[in-house]
């Protein structure tokens, strides 16, 4: 070294090198972040010392808006522009007339979403193969320009039907909306429309099938009437985990329990709801609920316990005497149950061999159901998420008809809970000029088959054929592109082929497995960085106002701003932009609420308090119809309850689509020959640590309930597997490596991999996080074109 000066012990300074370094760095030294503040440097702000952390913090109301089915209030403690911590609705008293909309573990962990170091921060574009994980940070200008030109190119080349606004439920506000509509819907409508969808991952089979019986998918009794029942029979349904927040049906289950109402839960799993509330847990093999119902009907019929007068007056097709004209005898539900049509009476012994429920338990259950009134029959959404889901869903109401448990306080005919929603306006998305709609579950089919996605082959509605399949996907706040859709291996292979779907836009807060398959990703703001409104009702109606707690972080932008910028680039600004601010739209939404609910507060008051609740009401399902079926007929072809559906009968596919809710054996069920190779039924229950796939990446949630495969001790012992072991779960579609939780809370022969974990394939394509959809199938259900994601056979072995 040249000009060396002794500096300190252990170091010498080279003057020549130093001059060289100074010169080299002269340019960059100016590019720095700490700017002098205008107020000078004397201020000594209150630093977060113990006990002083929240001193002078402002408390602002906001919302938890993810898709659990409930909605809750969050209160943010904000100081110096930073969210310090979160509390929730604490306005009391918490009584049956005024439930607190208290957030659950997930809502209270929301700060971990806002301040997660892994948040998406800047726009990026794909630079490697699609899905390869190579990205380049780009400017908003470039991201918007590219998106706009691709959208225009694809519309010009393939038409508006080729642009799919994919199912997504991560954002659910009156202004921001990822489930159809919202600013995205408006932008695409201004451009000539887009390919929309029918059905959804939560309840497709139920929603499609129930109208064949009732004329409508809605109309159950409200959970406020749980305490009025004598007996509650739950087929699945686990609100204690799926809708944990304070203003939900679990509260009314507690009241029912306090009232001495007996609660029976029929579920393969001893769920949190079963363990907390049930007097009796009846474990059942997945996909076999309609076999149980048939056997219960058999006992009631043979022992004369059923309400024949009710069936005669209100129902079509329970017995041969009440079939529609022109339908030959032997097609009624009763003839199915008695074995007239197939030679197999649906005896408890028959059902026991299918369901795994002891004969005596079935007999006892039938007598108990028939011997008490009112009975509140209810089903959850899990039992219909099967390959025979439509007929699973349709079977439960039969029990209510046979026992006359319809239209009386404390009864429910096996339907989802009813509710009276709070009326609220929403952002005007306008009308979609494209009439074609695919099943939500068939988007992969519409990508893969291109122009061969038709009404017959794929359940297309509103058109006979999609001219080019799907070429552009708009994925905003959604993880159904990869993670929540079936068969992640097959889906990702399809998406990798950029000649099929040519462009995928992703907008989200995190790099989910679906975002990995985007071409451009735009970083979204959370609800805490903007204002919005949500509503919800389960018993008591609820509207929540979300205040902006902090400034948008990094370079994140909201979807409205994104759509407005694209509208400018695509020449539709005049149509899209009404010249209104977000606040004006929210004021208009509140004006709708004020007109519908006279006691709704002023916008200012609502924004200040952040919460509005209606008085709880008691809804009794089909009360008017039962009182006077002539004056108040159901919207079915006959005006009555259609146990036998002529519409289904006329489809003439009796083995797959029966006209009465028969038990249909599925390809991957308890008696399937495939069990020799894959002996375990694998379901994917909802864990309380996630809302679908949201929250999977939060440390608190992993601590609360780590991702584990649930397995019965007998099945584990037979495989030499111990609790906490790493196991391999596999079938022909894929392999998952995950740790195991060994528990008698699940029956032998069944395992469960809680749904929503983020698909993380290793170099060999083995998912090492535990995503159930590594194992599920694309094959849709027969009637609804819906998802069968709990119907899987697998093998499990020590990894």
């Amino acid at each position: 070294m040249g000009n060396v000066t002794e500096a300190k012990k252990g170091a010498t300074v080279s003057r020549r090198s130093f001059l060289k370094w100074s010169a080299a760095l002269a340019g960059s030294a100016a590019l720095v972040g700490c700017m002098p503040v205008s107020s000078g440097g004397s201020a000594e702000p209150a630093v977060a010392q113990a006990g002083e952390r929240h001193l002078n913090a402002e408390i602002l109301p906001t919302i938890c808006w993810h898709n659990c089915g409930g909605r809750c209030q969050i209160k943010g403690q904000v100081k110096d522009g930073v969210l310090l911590s979160i509390t929730t609705d604490n306005e009391g008293p918490d009584t049956p007339d005024n439930l607190q909309a208290r957030a659950c573990l997930k809502g209270r962990a929301q700060r971990q979403r806002l301040y997660h170091p892994d948040r998406l921060k800047y726009p990026v574009k794909r630079v490697g193969e699609r899905g390869e994980g190579k990205w380049e940070r780009i400017s908003w200008e470039e991201a918007l320009d590219t998106t706009a030109s691709e959208l225009k190119r694809i519309i010009d080349q393939y038409g508006n039907e080729s642009v799919h606004y994919i199912y997504a439920s991560g954002v659910g506000g009156a202004f921001n909306q990822s489930y159809m509509g919202g600013p995205t819907g408006r932008l695409l409508n201004c451009l000539g429309g887009y390919l929309s969808f029918y059905g959804n991952y939560s309840q497709a089979n139920y929603m499609y099938a129930i109208p064949y019986m009732f004329g409508s998918p809605y109309g159950g009794s409200s959970p406020t009437t749980f305490p009025d029942a004598k007996l509650i029979v739950m087929f699945g349904d686990n609100p204690a985990c799926t809708r944990v927040g304070g203003l939900n049906s679990t509260y009314y289950l507690k009241l029912a329990k306090q009232n001495g109402v007996k609660i029976i839960v029929i579920d393969p799993r001893f769920s949190d709801t079963a363990s907390t509330f049930a007097d009796q847990w009846i474990p059942i093999r997945p996909t076999t609920d309609s076999a149980l119902v048939a056997a219960l009907a058999y006992i009631m019929l043979t022992e004369g316990l059923h309400d024949q007068a009710f069936l005669d007056k209100y129902c079509v097709g329970f017995d041969d005497a009440h079939l529609p004209e022109g339908v030959p005898a032997g097609n009624s539900y009763k003839s199915y149950v008695m074995g007239d049509s197939d030679g197999q009476p649906k005896t408890p012994e028959w059902a026991s061999s299918i369901t795994g429920i002891p004969v005596d338990t079935i007999k006892q259950l039938a007598r108990e159901i028939a011997g008490v009134k009112p009975v509140f029959f209810i089903q959850g959404r899990g039992m219909q998420r099967h390959a025979n889901g439509e007929f699973q869903a349709l079977s439960v109401p039969i029990l209510a008809f046979m026992t006359g448990n319809v239209g009386i306080l404390g009864s429910n005919p096996g339907l989802y809970e009813g509710f009276t929603p709070v009326r609220m306006g929403s952002y005007p998305a306008g009308a979609n000029p494209v009439e074609a709609k695919i099943s939500f579950f068939m988007f992969t089919d519409a990508i893969e088959k291109g122009g061969n996605h038709t009404k017959e082959s794929s359940g297309l509605q509103g058109a006979d054929r999609l001219p080019h399949g799907i070429k552009f996907i708009w994925n905003y706040g959604g993880n159904a592109l990869v993670n929540q859709h079936s068969d992640t291996g097959r889906t990702t292979a399809l998406l990798k082929d950029t000649s099929k779907c040519e462009f995928i836009l992703g907008i989200d807060n995190f790099m989910t497995p679906s975002m990995e398959y985007s071409d451009i990703i735009l970083p979204d703001i959370t609800q805490f960085e903007q204002e919005d409104i949500v509503t919800r009702a389960l018993g008591q109606g609820l509207a929540l106002y979300g205040r902006k707690l902090v400034e948008p972080m990094y370079e994140c932008k909201g979807v409205y701003e994104i759509c407005l910028e694209l509208a400018k680039r695509l020449g539709v600004q005049d149509k899209f932009d009404e010249g209104k601010t977000q606040e004006q739209y929210l004021r208009e939404a509140v004006a709708v609420a004020q007109e519908a609910q006279p006691d709704f507060p002023s916008f200012e008051e609502f924004r200040e308090k952040g919460i509005y609740k209606t008085k709880p009401s008691k809804i009794v399902a089909y009360e008017a119809f039962i009182k006077d079926p002539i004056a108040n007929p159901l919207p079915t072809p006959s005006g009555k309850i259609e146990i036998f559906s002529k519409t289904l009968y006329d489809m003439n596919r009796p083995d797959e689509i029966p006209a009465v809710p028969k038990y249909i054996e599925v390809k991957e069920g308890p008696r399937s020959p495939l069990r020799e190779k894959y002996p375990l039924q694998c379901i994917g229950h909802h864990s309380k640590r996630r809302v679908h796939s949201t929250f999977d990446n939060l440390p608190w949630m992993e601590e609360a309930e780590p991702q584990r495969l649930w397995m019965n001790p007998q099945d584990a012992a037979a495989r030499g597997i111990k609790d906490g072991d790493l196991v391999k779960v596999y079938n022909d579609r894929g392999t998952v490596k995950v740790k195991v939780k060994i528990t008698p809370r699940l029956i032998p022969g069944v395992c469960s991999l809680p749904q929503g974990a983020w698909y993380t394939p290793d170099a060999n394509g083995v998912d090492i996080r535990g995503c159930i959809n590594t194992l599920t199938t694309w094959e849709p259900t027969k009637l609804a074109w819906g998802n069968p994601q709990h119907t899987n056979l697998v093998q499990v072995e020590k990894a």
């Binding site: 000066t5 252990g10 300074v13 080299a24 972040g33 630093v47 301040y115 790099m511």
Partner: protein, 222 residues
């Protein structure tokens, strides 16, 4: 050490802190790479430190520069950028999230108490991050820049008392903030970086900051 030597050392430290600041705060650029490689800056580091991390770091950086003398600097920059983004920017899971709060809070989040304390420290010296509340104040690169600013102030100090105060502030900032997470942060970079460049940089930062803190503590006693 005479006063001239002291003032040179101050200048050198300011330059090194500025270098660390820009290296961590900003994405690599091809002009910067060209300068560093052509002028062989890492072979002629202005301080000859007897700290093993610093020595190892400089060795890695020098060998990286040597190996890439004839590489296309645009390509080299792309490679460094991939590494920089994977470590500090994203998208997706960050291999070395560059914020103090992520390392020092139980929940491993940004904008925790350490961020607010760093913010208060800056403010005490009349400084504020221009992206305040949009990006965290406790980015490693910002903390380095703040040190450079304290040294610059010290260089301009009018009296001994001010000078000593600024030395104490540098010691306090290193002690209460930088050194509390430096090791874990540097280890994350060393374990996850795919380039000698960022591994070397992490080791150099670790070695230099450790040396500088001891140096400051000793000068405070004097």
């Amino acid at each position: 050490m005479n006063s001239k030597e002291v003032s040179i050392l101050l200048e050198v430290r300011e330059v090194i802190y500025t270098f660390l600041s820009t290296s961590f705060l900003l994405s690599p650029t091809s002009t910067q790479i060209t300068t560093v490689i052509q002028q062989r800056l890492f072979e002629e580091f202005p301080l000859d430190l007897d700290n093993q991390d610093a020595i190892n770091g400089l060795e890695l950086l020098s060998s990286w520069a040597k190996e890439n003398e004839n590489t296309n600097h645009e390509e080299l920059c792309k490679e460094l950028l991939q590494d920089y983004n994977a470590l500090f920017v994203g998208p997706g899971h960050l291999l070395a999230p560059p914020w103090e709060s992520v390392y020092l809070t139980e929940e491993k989040l940004t904008f925790g108490d350490p961020t607010m304390k760093v913010r208060a420290f800056y403010l005490r010296h009349g400084l504020e991050y221009y992206r305040k509340n949009s990006e965290p104040d406790d980015h490693f690169g910002l903390e380095m820049e703040f040190m450079a600013k304290l040294i610059s102030k010290q260089r301009q100090a009018q009296n001994k008392q001010d000078e000593q105060y600024l030395v104490r502030e540098q010691i306090a900032f290193l002690q209460d903030h930088v050194l509390k997470w430096l090791n874990d942060f540097a280890n994350d970079i060393c374990q996850n970086s795919k380039t000698k460049y960022y591994k070397g940089l992490a080791l150099l930062a670790k070695g230099f900051l450790t040396w500088d803190y001891q140096n400051l503590k000793e000068s405070e006693i004097i």
